[in-house]
Amino acid sequence: MTPRRKRLLIVLGILGGVGASVALAVMASRENVMFYFDPSQIAAGQAPHDKRFRVGGMVVKGSVVKTSSQVHPDEIDVRFVLSDFQHEVPVKYSGVLPDLFREGQGVIAHGQLDANGTFLADEVLAKHDEKYMPPEVAGSLKKQHAGVMSGGAAPKSTAAESAAAGSAPMGAAQMNAVPTAPVSSNVPTT
């Protein structure tokens, strides 16, 4: 074995060794690194009641109720319902909401469950997806979608595209696994 070959093998060995150990660490941490639960897991009783964790889901349309806060006059109390299209969890939050917080948007709330099953959030983060489009395009997609719903024969790809446009609080792959995901649920009324 030439010295050069030996050095090449050492370099490849370092890469392989570090790569394998990191891959193992990644796989081990995937499940619990974020203390993340979706509404279905909360409904199944898997979420802890005495620990803080994150819950992600879509803000259910028509569920957002804002009242001005009794404690801090400049803040507002918000109640809304988070859904993963199978189960729902009510959320209570007071404070400033991000710009993207709106009904039908994917959000991640950080906080704790109370005894009644309401999630008391102290942080609400809005998630957006990797799709960018001009407002007119979003508008026309919405119109086509309306055509699909009323029995119109819109091209299949359009429906699939707008379905994928829904902000996924989970990974896009997991999102696609949700069978009842409503089409283009997050295209806001403009």
């Binding site: 370099v11 995937r30 909401l97 799709k131 489009m133 806001p188």
Partner: protein, 246 residues
């Protein structure tokens, strides 16, 4: 096939002259790409349907983030070539890459933070994508300081190259973090095996800035590489001949 041009890339004087000749063209191309992309992206591209004009920070953020990764990969490759084939110019390239890559990383982190505040609702979250990009910055800092931590520059070069190689595992982690974990950060818009999730009116300026950033990286790399070669080869005859007053 004639490989002379390839073998000559190992020769410091040749690389020095090549970098000197290439740099102006790269700077010019970078200026054109960045200028067109930023003007088209910031003023003429349509606003996003959800984020409005705030999405335009993507024209700085995404190219910075991409370059932070490609600069790292370039640095690690150059270090590997130097380690395995004992080609010294590889160490010079790796040393020249590190501060540029670190700067792109800082740029990506700062612009991302400014974007996250209005959209997500926070400047910073201990999110997989954000955290792994921060680790990338610390890797850059570690590599830069490790190189200088030895009295013998050759040992510093080797140690930095090994650390660079070890850190290369972070590059795919950064890229796939948005798929592997429940990340606040959205998935890839361009770097995937599918159609970009963006119409042409938004995409073309972005690609233009990306190309401009790549050329800019190449241009700064040429400038820094020339300085590295001058310092590293300061005892050699070709430099003495070049700088001696006739």
């Amino acid at each position: 096939m004639n490989w002379t041009w390839f073998h000559r890339l190992a020769s410091p004087p040749h690389v020095y002259r090549l970098a000197t000749r290439l740099a102006p063209w790269l700077y010019a191309g970078a200026a054109l790409g960045i200028a067109y992309g930023l003007i088209a992206g910031l003023f003429f591209a349509p606003p996003d349907y959800q984020q409005g004009d705030a999405f335009r920070i993507i024209y700085v953020h995404a190219p910075s983030a991409w370059l932070s990764l490609s600069a790292y990969t370039t640095m690690a490759l150059a270090g590997a070539v130097a380690l395995v084939w004992r080609i010294k110019i590889g160490y010079a390239v790796a040393a020249a890459c590190a501060p540029i890559g670190a700067s792109f990383t800082i740029g990506a982190l700062i612009t991302g933070s400014l974007w996250g505040r209005p959209m997500w609702g926070t400047y910073w979250a201990w999110d997989p994508r954000l955290t792994s990009e921060l680790i990338l910055l610390f890797l850059y800092f570690g590599i830069i300081s490790l190189r200088q931590a030895f009295d013998d520059p050759a040992r510093g070069d080797r140690a930095a190259a090994v650390l660079g190689l070890v850190g290369v595992v972070n590059v795919p982690i950064i890229h796939y973090s948005v798929q592997w974990w429940n990340s606040l950060h959205q998935g890839a818009t361009l770097a995937k095996w599918a159609k970009p999730s963006m119409p042409g009116s938004m995409l073309v300026p972005l690609l233009s800035v990306l190309l401009g950033f790549m050329l800019f990286f190449g241009a700064v790399l040429c400038t820094r590489l020339r300085a590295e070669v001058l310092v590293r080869e300061r005892q050699s005859n070709w430099i003495n001949e070049m700088v001696s007053i006739p």
